[in-house]
């Protein structure tokens, strides 16, 4: 008995020593080293349905944006991402919030030199993510801010992803909330004499000659609220379909409440005689929209690796909201690798169409008896095409250096977008990725 007890005790001691000496299972770092993305773009658009002048007028706009994204591995499991950007734009449309600059006859097709012709938008996002030891669960949380002259925003969000089926399947949930604030700026002719609006010198109607209907009497009352809240929840599902194909589905539901119309966008009524100063039609009222909006979007992606040269990326989305808008989006991109994969070409095509919002009518077609109205062509019915081409250079061996940063890739893309409502835009975007040694 004593002999057996000694054997059993020895067995336990040996197994304990073996457990202590067993190496920990290997855990790959989520992010090996700090990555820095420098993103910039130039955007230009033209059109003749400016919302600021009630659906007619110059929509010319130029925008330059610069963004830096820094992803920092805090340890094997956690990543902190800092995202900051600034955008500067000039706009012929927004310049006509006050078209009476005195330099030329006011006209919706001519940009004014007023203060609202340009603005700067800045934003920042801080995101933290944590991955489980087996890398099958990923949590993240983020906070954001954005600010421009007439608008500011604070946002929070969170997400959770679960990988299943030996990482062949991923299910994710995400939610976010934005608490935004307008600084209400009205068209110049609707501001109270001697003040209000927050921009430049107060406007005095009596200093101008009104043509057309000389009895200018707009149906205008100041907005009662300036806050906007947006709440979004989403569900994602992705699945590996084969060794060369994978797809995903996404569902987003968004509820927006508060001040959803743009305070400086004019509206004109067909049952009210027109009043003009110089060539500019004085507003009958501003855009009025419901203070709630429920949006639903469902989209899917399917990516296929054809061979070492061609890949096919496709996307489709269906969208519907309670303002009467339904839309379809479809796109295809075919990355083509050349020069042993160092250079990739990105030809792409996208088609988009939407139905008009229930509250939309073109210039001077609304009735003054309605409660909600807009002449913003972003809410009209239209079809749009987008053609794109890009080039990407991948420094496979990270040969190029900038101080301690190794160049990983350079991406340059161009997109041309056009609607069937006489609107078009061009975008050039440049992205450079570095890795910290």
């Amino acid at each position: 008995m004593k002999h057996n007890f000694l054997w059993i005790a020895a067995l336990f001691v040996c197994s304990g020593m073996t457990a202590q000496n067993q190496p920990q299972p290997y855990k790959k770092r989520v992010l090996e080293s700090t990555e820095v993305d420098l993103l910039s773009s130039l955007y230009s658009q033209t059109g003749d349905h400016a919302a600021v002048s009630g659906g007619i007028g110059n929509e010319s706009l130029q925008d330059a944006t610069a963004t830096i994204v820094i992803a920092i591995p805090l340890n094997d499991d956690d990543v902190l991402t800092i995202d900051a950007g600034v955008s500067a734009y000039t706009s012929a449309s927004s310049s006509n919030i006050n078209p009476f600059d005195g330099r030329q006859a006011a006209d919706p097709y001519v940009a004014s030199s007023g203060e609202s012709q340009s603005d700067t938008w800045s934003n920042g996002i801080l995101r933290y993510s944590h991955s489980s030891d087996n890398r099958n669960q990923i949590w993240s949380a983020n906070t954001s801010f954005a600010n421009e002259f007439d608008y500011s925003s604070i946002g929070v969000g969170s997400s959770f992803a679960q990988l299943l089926n030996e990482k062949n399947t991923e299910i994710s949930l995400h939610g976010s909330a934005y608490f935004d604030q307008w600084r209400l700026i009205y068209p110049i002719e609707l501001r109270p004499p001697g003040g209000g609006g927050g921009e430049g010198t107060p406007f005095h109607l009596e200093n101008y000659t009104i043509t057309g209907n000389p009895v200018y009497s707009p149906k205008f009352t100041p907005l009662s609220q300036s806050g906007r809240q947006s709440y979004a929840a989403g569900l994602g599902f992705s699945q590996i379909l084969s060794k060369k194909m994978q797809g995903s589905l996404a569902l987003d539901v968004v509820l927006q409440k508060g001040q959803l119309s743009t305070p400086f966008q004019r509206v004109y009524f067909s049952d009210v005689d027109n009043s003009y100063i110089e060539n500019f039609h004085l507003a009958d009222d501003i855009e009025r929209l419901p203070d709630t909006r429920l949006k639903l979007a469902i989209g899917g992606r399917l990516n296929t690796y054809i061979n070492e040269i061609f890949t096919v990326r496709t996307f489709y989305r269906y969208y519907v909201d309670d303002w009467g808008i339904r839309s379809h989006t479809a796109s295809i991109e075919v990355p083509i690798k050349i020069l042993m994969g160092r250079i990739t070409l990105y030809p792409s095509y996208r088609i988009y169409n939407q139905t008009a919002a229930d509250y939309f009518k073109p210039y001077d077609q609304h009735l003054s008896t309605r409660t909600y109205y807009t002449s913003d062509y972003d809410l009209s019915g239209y079809a749009a095409n987008q053609y794109g081409f890009g080039v990407s250079y991948t420094d496979i061996f990270n040969n190029m250096h900038l101080w301690r940063f190794e160049l990983k890739s350079i991406d340059l893309k161009y997109y041309h977008y056009s609607r069937n409502t006489n609107f078009s835009s061009n975008l050039i975007t440049l992205g450079v990725k570095f890795i910290l040694e």
């Binding site: 030996e166 399947t169 699945q239 379909l241 979007a297 989305r317 988009y352 835009s425």
Partner: protein, 70 residues
């Protein structure tokens, strides 16, 4: 919308019968061009689309809020 729902059911059924691909077989799936999302350099494109189009969401971009856009 009904069509979208039927496509969703069909997709889930299809996925449930897919062969499991081992991690060491995911070489092509891990290609940067196979990522199920937009590339970083396209984020400004997504922003421009969110400003100019009524539809948003289901693409990793803005879903609403954070800007004075529609």
């Amino acid at each position: 919308m009904k069509i979208a729902g039927k496509l969703l059911v069909l997709f889930v059924i299809t996925c449930s019968s897919c062969v499991v691909v081992k991690e060491y077989e995911m070489v092509h799936l891990n290609d940067p061009d196979m990522i199920l999302g937009d590339q970083n350099c396209d984020r400004n494109l997504l922003t421009a689309q969110a400003y100019r189009e009524a539809a948003s969401g289901a693409n990793g971009g803005k879903t609403g809020g954070g800007c004075g856009c529609n």
